[in-house]
């Protein structure tokens, strides 16, 4: 934003206004006249002014999750995890004990108490940006996070870059988020469609053999396309053939007209590149159409769902039994970090968290840790602290936040839907088939084109 030198001591008019808003609207005029209080970290005057900075002894996070619309339950779980994270940051507990290495003290961040504001994305990119803007401008958030669709995540990343406020993407699985739409001010902890394909391909071959013909139904939007591409690539790498693919409009609720062509094909595997309501409906209806019992070329037909979430598994009910897919995390994981989180989450809410909750929680902590390590809230410094940083204790194995595209790399899970009889609770829906190590999934930085953009403090 500002091209002033590193040693500049004057604040831009814009920062002044932001400060004013952060303090209280009423003091704003005073601020513009230069009489309002400006709290700034010790080294603050050394940086060009950009983004927000904490005022007083509190620091504000913004949690922007879907509270209305189809993903509101997922949003609610994210919000629970965020609240828990804030509680732990201020008072200790949870993963603070397992994070390695850790700079977190359990007494806030850089001595400031963490508070938060919430917003409703409505799973609508426009509403999400609107809500995020309010957080940035009115509430002066230092970081915001949340979401459950790639469209809202991407939309918010652009806003983050523009406003120079860090955005921790939560649930977004599209390659674009850290591919073509990657932004310097956005970080993603969640895995992506490409990694799902990488992880799932070998397991599918192992289970169903290498001589298979797959029919894809693909949600007709970016995530669907990338998911289809990667599934095609990695199943064909195992020797499978791709029979056909039908792009299904995003708003479809009745997939029967897409399923009947499958019945008339030679395909013996049905891959549903669908998410959320799309997946619930397509899977349920695929089962209704007898895809699970179908015999083709002497083989039993199989259904695959590349991306699983608890929300979807619950929605699809008993139909998920024996269906393979991938997941970012599961509450049954036995590593220390996961268990620390699950235990405290269950203690507070009475039931286990979802993978969305886990992502939300970890990202909040890792942001806080980066601030502590950087010793400042100044966003470019925090970004640099996060980039190419590896940490463990937040889930199985180590997590690396890659600097070149801001994608996190960690072990992911290939999971299978449990039979109703094998479940021990209504949350126990997925069985981990394989924990795919970080080393087996990954790609080069320039595999997807994209530019992160500036830190904003370059001179």
């Amino acid at each position: 934003m500002s091209n002033q030198g590193k040693k500049t001591k004057t604040l831009s008019r814009r920062s002044f206004i932001k400060t004013g808003v952060a303090v209280t609207g009423g003091l704003m005029l005073g601020n513009q006249l230069g009489i309002g209080p400006v709290h700034w970290s010790a080294r603050a005057q050394d940086y060009p002014a950009l983004g927000n900075f904490p005022v007083g002894d509190k620091v504000v996070f913004g949690f922007n999750v879907p509270q209305t619309g189809a993903y509101s339950d997922e949003g609610a779980d994210e919000l629970r995890a965020y609240e828990l994270a804030v509680e732990h940051l201020n008072n200790g507990g949870g993963m603070l004990a397992t994070l390695m290495p850790s700079s977190l003290t359990g007494a806030g961040i850089l001595g400031k108490e963490v508070t938060f504001v919430t917003g409703d994305t409505q799973t609508n990119p426009d509403a999400a940006r609107d809500s995020a803007r309010r957080m940035i401008e009115r509430d002066g958030v230092i970081m915001f996070s949340g979401g459950s669709s790639s469209a809202t995540a991407v939309a918010q990343q652009y806003l983050a870059q523009e406003a120079k406020v860090i955005f921790m993407d939560c649930l977004t699985h599209s390659n674009d988020t850290t591919g073509k739409d990657r932004q310097r001010y956005g970080f993603r902890h969640f895995f992506n469609a490409y990694m799902s394909g990488q992880a799932l391909g070998p397991i599918l071959a192992e289970r169903y053999g290498t001589d298979r013909r797959a029919f894809h139904l693909t949600a007709d939007y970016t995530w669907g396309h990338t998911q289809y591409e990667s599934m095609k690539q990695f199943t064909e790498a195992q020797g499978w053939a791709t029979e056909d693919n039908i792009m299904t409009p995003l708003t479809t609720t009745d997939f029967s007209q897409y399923l009947t062509p499958v019945l008339n094909s030679d395909a013996d595997v049905l891959v549903l590149n669908h998410y959320g309501g799309n997946m619930i409906n397509s899977l349920t209806q695929a089962v209704q159409f007898g895809m699970r019992e179908r015999e083709v070329n002497g083989k039993t037909m199989e259904v695959v769902v590349p991306l699983y979430s608890r929300l979807m598994a619950q929605g699809a009910g008993d139909n998920i039994e024996g269906i393979l897919g991938t997941s970012n995390w599961d509450y049954k994981l036995s590593d220390e970090g996961s268990q620390a989180f699950v235990t405290s989450f269950e203690a507070k809410y009475g039931f286990p968290p979802s993978q969305a909750g886990h992502t939300a929680y970890v990202q909040t902590l890792l942001y806080a840790d980066a601030v502590e390590r950087a010793g400042t809230f100044y966003p470019p410094e925090v970004i640099r602290a996060l980039e190419d940083y590896t940490v463990s204790g937040v889930g199985p194995g180590a997590v690396e936040y890659r600097g070149c595209d801001h994608q996190a790399f960690h072990d992911i899970l290939v999971v299978e839907g449990k039979a109703p009889s094998a479940r021990d609770s209504e949350y126990d829906l997925l069985e981990t088939v394989k924990q795919v190590p970080r080393a087996e999934i990954g790609y080069e930085c320039d595999f997807f084109p994209g530019e992160l953009g500036p830190y904003g403090d370059e001179s």
Partner: protein, 332 residues
């Protein structure tokens, strides 16, 4: 003398409007909003202003105004993204294309009345939505929307924040002035006559259809203008811009403000955006509350906020309604 007073009244009206429009950025934070919300409110107020010219004056309820807004936004966004950062070029082209589409749609849809008209406009808008979502996603970005639009420029000046606000404010003022001129012109009189008694107007030697098409076109141009500003302000275009829920939201704004009053729907837009934005930070039931407010307006205050004072006055002086002077009457 009459000329003078009318001119003075006009000037005072516009002056007050200008003060409100250009102070919103600073007054809004005092009410719990944030400054950029002011820009958003102004953009939406242009949209509902156009909507009011059609619905408020002629009485044709369109459920498809999202189409004009969305197409304006996409065209403007696409030009800013790929061709030039010059906002005026993007806006002119956006509005031009929207007006062509509005003209064609008007010719087709305006042959129908009431519910048929509403459904027909809705169907067209939904067609554009689904086209943008899948078949045209190569250009529209599909579900992700049009991302990565560069900050637009006006003769070298980067339009964002305060500069964008002022730019939008000027357009709002122009739009309001134009809408007022239209409403108070002979042309506006004809539009109101259409709402009041369309058939009679035909037998007064008026080509009603042309007036309707023109109203539809103007309405579309306003919506398209607002759409282009929206794309420029957001530097992003979501597919939701074309969805019928946006058309529904426009209707809600207009009802809360009061159809046909111009300034009312603008207030309605501000009220709805304020509630949506500020209330949603407080409770996740904000949608329910908005629904209840909307329904209360339809049932108890059909004239919207603008009729509030009139309604109150009537409530307190019920017995002062002048007795009906009837000289002669017809019974059969």
């Amino acid at each position: 003398m009459k000329k003078q007073s009318l001119f003075a009244r006009d000037s005072i009206y516009m002056l007050i409007a200008a003060i409100v429009i250009f102070s919103l950025r600073w007054t809004l934070p005092l009410l719990g909003g944030y400054s950029e919300l002011a820009t958003r409110m102004l953009i939406f107020s242009i949209l509902v202003l156009g909507f009011d010219i059609l619905v408020g004056l002629t009485g044709y309820l369109s459920f498809g105004h999202a189409a004009f807004w969305g197409i304006g936004a996409y065209i403007c966004g696409y030009i800013l993204l790929h061709f030039t950062q010059n906002i005026l070029v993007a806006m002119i082209l956006g509005v031009l294309i929207v007006s062509i589409i509005a003209f064609l749609l008007g010719i087709i849809t305006l042959r129908r009345h009431g519910i048929y008209f509403a459904i027909l406009t809705l169907a067209f808008a939904e067609m554009f939505y689904y086209l943008a979502l899948a078949p045209l996603q190569k250009w529209t970005g599909g579900d992700n929307g049009l991302t990565g639009i560069k900050t637009p420029q006006l003769f070298g000046l980067e339009l964002s924040g305060l500069a964008m606000y002022i730019f939008v404010g000027i357009w709002t003022l122009i739009a309001l002035y134009t809408a007022r001129r239209i409403k108070n012109s002979p042309y506006g009189l004809m539009l109101r006559a259409i709402k009041s008694n369309e058939e009679r107007l035909t037998f007064t030697g008026i080509n009603v259809f042309r007036y309707k098409v023109m109203a539809f076109l103007i309405s579309g141009i306003f919506a398209g203008l607002a759409g282009t500003l929206f794309a420029a302000y957001e530097t992003y275009v979501p597919t939701e811009s074309l969805h019928w829920t946006l058309s529904g939201e426009i209707v809600i704004m207009s009802v809360i403000g009061g159809f046909g009053t111009l300034i009312g729907p603008m207030m309605g837009a501000a009220i709805v955006l304020y509630l949506e934005n500020v209330l949603s930070a407080i409770t996740d039931q904000w949608n329910l509350i908005l629904g209840v407010i909307f329904m209360s307006f339809v049932i108890f205050l059909p004239g919207g906020v603008m009729s509030l004072s009139k309604q109150l006055r009537r409530l307190f002086s019920r017995d002062q309604v002048p007795a009906n002077r009837t000289e002669s009457q017809g019974g059969d």
